[in-house]
Subunit: 300 residues, 2 copies
């Protein structure tokens, strides 16, 4: 009897760390990635090939990617903004990379300094070269349920960007509620709309818990057919648009949610909580996972 | 055009405060209740007529209930464990009271020192007298999705206690996930089961966010037809079974969830966030509402 299953994409070492104030050395980031793999996570975003001038937290990503031990069944991915980034990722041995587009024009301009169309045009040669080398490409779409600059984002715009990334060759499109303003109903409508244009199996959900809605949104996306979710150990990362607020949904919460509903994640929750304790101490932050808090309190 | 609506029962001044380490004086508790009413909350649990030896946080509940200003459309309620408590509540002018049963035998024994059947028998004269005086009675059922002592709680047991309280004359039964271990699917199944025995309009959902599931559980219960939810400003209250962990779901989160989905709550969110800041400063605690954190950060 095969159990229903979900795939969790651990983004703590990239999306998480890049939104923490403190920069961690390569050694610590390698240890984090290795420990996450030890927990049973099978897709781990480990770095970004972006300018360390803009994102100092990701400096040395090539070394991180080079040093993490290859394990059967585990994929380490990295963000690449352009061809130069892709070349660095390829040189570091990446077998999967990710490109990053926005569903909001204002966000695209302020975040990556070009229009949505320009960003998609920039990704085309990246996709072509990556696929030619047998490297899988994942696409991120940010601001799918709201933009920090313009508020509401039309669903049709999300669908258009999703479709473009899929047509370009992204095997999976991660729909990101970057500012965490989405609700379960809006999530459900969004997934249904996107699944009208690309296979629902090519969609992933990426929810931020800034307004406490992330777990409910994950559940709504799951009900709409999504089987892949991004999350971050201990809820690493914050929200640059609401300083001090919560960022990525904690991986612990998604493991609890899914396992509690009979859906296998393959993740060892007790081990994962230890990894959260480790990385929080390195960052001198307090963790954001309520599951971790509750279980650690019970164990004490 | 009438908008879909939900009724929020604010339990911060009772279920919340009684699980905070610090005891607040009557003045502060009266101010809290008044401010909650100012936000548009229409059902506010303001105290408990229990022994101050066991629950020092609720000492002076009679004075709190006596002093809060009567307002058209606002109901102040209090917990009464027995006839003596009811008499005190009646003397303080309560027009609504609540009784408290458990769905778990072990919890009933440890929490109120009697079996479930004994507690129901004890409530019968309380209900009879209250109803005779035209005072409405709400029933709580705790441990509906798990017990801190025995783990799983059979749905049939929750249904039986719910049915008994309804048959006794409780106009509404609040189903409490006391330790916050429930998931959305379990919540949905539970509501469907209870709604097979009492009208779904007589059910309320009372979720704790100990494992970060509360908002998702509220949404699941809403989808199953529940239109009344208990919550606590700023997530007041903790979990006695997981010290340091989260307790009641924050009212701010439910206002955000419902208003964001086009469901009227009647609550002024900005004002509510100010009430949270006020009471958190009195308790010298940091708030548990992510909505409050995000909106306060944005405003700054």
């Amino acid at each position: 009897m095969s159990m229903d299953a979900v795939r969790l994409v651990e983004v703590g070492a990239r999306d998480g760390l890049q939104n923490e104030a403190r920069c961690l050395p390569v050694d610590t980031r390698v240890a984090l990635v290795e420990r996450l793999a030890d927990c049973g996570l099978r897709t781990i975003e480990a770095g970004a090939f972006v300018s360390p001038r803009w994102v100092p937290q990701m400096a040395g990503s090539d070394e991180v990617l080079r040093r993490v031990g290859q394990r059967p069944g585990v994929t380490y991915t990295a963000l690449v903004p352009n061809l130069q980034g892709l070349d660095m990722a390829l040189a570091a041995g990446c077998r999967e990379v990710a490109v990053f587009a926005a569903a909001s024009e204002a966000f695209s301009q302020k975040n990556i300094n070009c229009s949505i169309a320009q960003s998609l045009a920039r990704f085309e040669p990246v996709l072509a070269k990556a696929l030619e080398q047998g490297v899988a490409v994942r696409g991120y779409v940010s601001c799918v349920l709201g933009c920090p600059f313009t508020g509401a984002v039309p669903v049709a715009q999300v669908v258009a960007v999703t479709q473009a990334l899929y047509a370009m060759g992204c095997y999976e499109i991660s729909l990101g509620d970057t500012i965490g303003t989405g609700t379960p109903e809006a999530t459900h409508r969004l997934i249904e709309a996107c699944a009208g244009s690309v296979p629902v199996t090519a969609l992933a959900g990426h929810f931020h818990d800034t307004y406490g809605m992330a777990v409910a949104n994950v559940q709504a996306a799951w009900q709409a057919g999504v089987r892949v979710f991004d999350s971050s150990v201990s809820g690493l990362g914050g929200c640059p648009y609401s300083p001090g607020a919560t960022g990525n949904v904690a991986t612990e919460e998604l493991v609890y949610l899914f396992e509690g509903q009979g859906v296998a994640t393959g993740v060892d929750l007790a081990k994962l909580i230890e990894v959260g304790v480790f990385i929080d101490s390195q960052l001198q932050r307090s963790g954001e996972s309520r599951v971790a808090k509750a279980l650690r309190a019970r164990i004490r």
